[in-house]
């Protein structure tokens, strides 16, 4: 390795339980990162993997078993900065929504039989277990957002990630509002931006895959959709699918729950 290679900041790309989408986005943009960072760990993409101290760890996936938790604690110990990437790591994604609704031991028995010894934890985002320095949501993450976050982090700055609603990006694009004009069940008003209002730009309703935005107006969203004829049960289930907490339902908690995405030092 060249002298310059040695002096580059080091990164690790870690994977817990998820769909590997974030790793795929990173793999596909690796050539953009390689000039600025040395990859110490990337089990998905490389054979030699170093478990020593690292400057920045990008973590994909949710904690879903005790083994994930051990791995995560080790990651925190050896990293100066931990960045949660993707909806799974930030919110627990679809498996997190399932864990909110059903007890894990019951699910384990149903799948693996009564005498299973397999350990499992209710799936959840990683900041339930360790301190996370920045969170980059998305299912999958947006490559442009990833590179911007990586650029700040590689210079030692805490990255800034937008958490305003999708509607904002939708207005920038001057889209026809599918909720108001077509009555489609768009969750854009309570979903964090970052995708460039992808679904409404294609004439479809946002289904919330970036997780909830800051200070989501859940009650207003729910009543708008039920007024349009969608069943309350269905609206609630859609709102919690990609990371909305059941706790958001109930006026008092609404404002407190959409915490800012950056956890300051």
């Amino acid at each position: 390795m060249t002298e310059r290679g040695k002096s580059l900041p080091t990164i690790a790309l870690e994977e817990l339980a998820g769909c590997a989408g974030e790793l795929l986005v990173i793999l596909e943009n690796l050539d953009q990162l390689l000039p600025f960072a040395r990859v110490l760990r990337f089990r998905f993409g490389q054979s030699r993997n170093d478990t020593g101290p690292v400057d920045i760890s990008f973590v994909e996936g949710s904690v879903s078993q005790p083994h994930d938790l051990e791995t995560l604690k080790l990651i925190r110990q050896r990293s100066k900065m931990v960045i949660a990437v993707g909806n799974c790591a930030v919110w627990g994604c679809v498996q997190g929504s399932c864990a909110q609704k059903y007890p894990v031991p019951e699910m384990l028995r149903k799948v693996y039989g009564d005498d299973t010894h397999i350990d499992s934890l209710p799936s959840a985002g990683i900041d339930n277990y360790i301190k996370v320095d920045a969170k980059l949501s998305g299912c999958p993450i947006n490559a442009t957002q990833l590179l911007a976050v990586a650029a700040s982090a590689l210079r030692g700055h805490l990255p800034y990630v937008i958490q305003k609603p999708v509607c904002l990006e939708c207005k920038y694009k001057e889209n026809v509002c599918v909720l108001v004009e077509q009555g489609l069940p768009c969750l854009g008003p309570v979903t964090a931006a970052g995708c460039g209002a992808l679904c409404p730009s294609l004439g479809a309703a946002c289904y919330g895959c970036w997780g909830v935005c800051e200070a989501p107006q859940i009650d207003a969203m729910t009543s708008t959709l039920t007024d349009k004829g969608y069943k309350y049960e269905e609206v609630r289930s859609r709102l919690t699918t990609f990371g909305g907490s059941e706790k958001l339902f109930g006026r008092d908690e609404t404002s407190a729950a959409g915490a800012s995405c950056i956890t300051a030092e």
Binding site: E15, L16, A17, G18, C19, A20, G21, L24, L27, E28, L30, D31, L34, F42, R43, F44, G45, Q46, S47, R48, S62, V63, S64, Q65, H67, D68, C93, V94, Q95, S97, C98, A99, Y102, V104, M107, L108, K110, V111, Y112, G113, T116, I118, S120, S123, C139, P140, C195, L198, C199, L202, G203, A204, Y207, C209, G229, E233, E234, S237, R238, T241
Partner: protein
Amino acid sequence: MTELEKKTIKIAEVTRVEGHSAVHVEITDGQVTDVKMEVTEGKRFFERMLLGHQFSEMPHLTSRICAICSAGHVLAAIHSVERASGITVSETTRLFRLLMQMGMFIESHATHIYALALPDFVGAQDVADLATRFQAKFIEWTKLRSLGAAIQTTVGGRPFHPVNLHVGGLSHYPSVAQLEPLLAQLKEYQQIAVDLCELLLGFAPPVRRTTDPCYMALIPPDGEYGYMGDRVKASDGWEDSIDNYKEYLGEKVLPYSHAKQSNARGKSLMVGSLARLALFGDRLGRMAKPLYEKSPIASGDTNTIWNNLAQALELVDAIEQSIAIIGKLKSTPYQIDLHDPRKQSIKAGSATGATECPRGTLYHHFVLDDSGKIMEADIVTPTAQNVGRMEVDIREVVQQAKDPTAAEVRDHLETLLRAYDPCNTCATHMVSISYR
């Protein structure tokens, strides 16, 4: 050997595959006595999660099982719901779905061959090493996978977890003008895929397979090579409808693994590119056929390692098919389907949907009530079907080796397992059980 010797081979972490898995082999007195392919990826209880959701959410929810085959999950979910409710779509919608599927095959196969498998063949450590020492190959990968991603982005809205494909139709029909740049790239990159086949044809397999697997794949309609169908066929001549998948795919829970293992009527089966080519290779298109005909696959060699070559052949064919699909879309006026979930008539019912994914046949089975709510869900992924055969292969490789504990054997095992292109996130999350 003079005394009873016990040896073990352990690969704690198989690298350059998707998800987490480990291999454990025990050898007693020169005989392999135990083989375990442990899938340790965390469980996500997908099928439980799907219950109570609306039919229209199925494509988007199931796509999260796996990013690289997300288009496959979307298509299988749509296939199942549409069969259950008797929804039919226009030829235009069908063509766009096929194009999406080709995009998935191009991206997934290119990424597996170049970034995960090829380093073993050219003597590179991994993809980062490939990027520095074999830059031409790295650039080829970038071109092909970007092409697959561009097709999926044009049709589906983004490279994976598509947002534009729905039960009953598309929310936006890409214009002919949007398809033109894809057509130009497809034509330009076709030769790269052909050259890749030639390259892989030249590699001698590091290990042999000593018993033949039972291959299985969907029967593509109209005598063509393809990835859709309502019936399956196996290499022993047996055929059945996908509706009976629960009968012909046996499953067992293993104490050491988070993935359930499937078998075909009691035999350890293999699904994926090699299986499809072994069954339907003679149906390949003009470009891929001659390459296939001179390959060991056509002459009956079932070595798992040829799955890499099989993927390259499908890559050539997928490019050729994409060109043909775009040609059809350009030459006929679009028939637009409604995608508004409120305007679709959903009937109570149940059905199985299936599609071929890069790694093999994927099954989705849903039971809907009359409001379109999911009452039961069952999903069987390709890797779950392949794990049993992987164990047989591991056993054979170790049994053949002079010194089973040599570092070389470990490397060969990893190379072999990688050839299956295993997707452990799929295998685990797709614990196959119906919830009521």
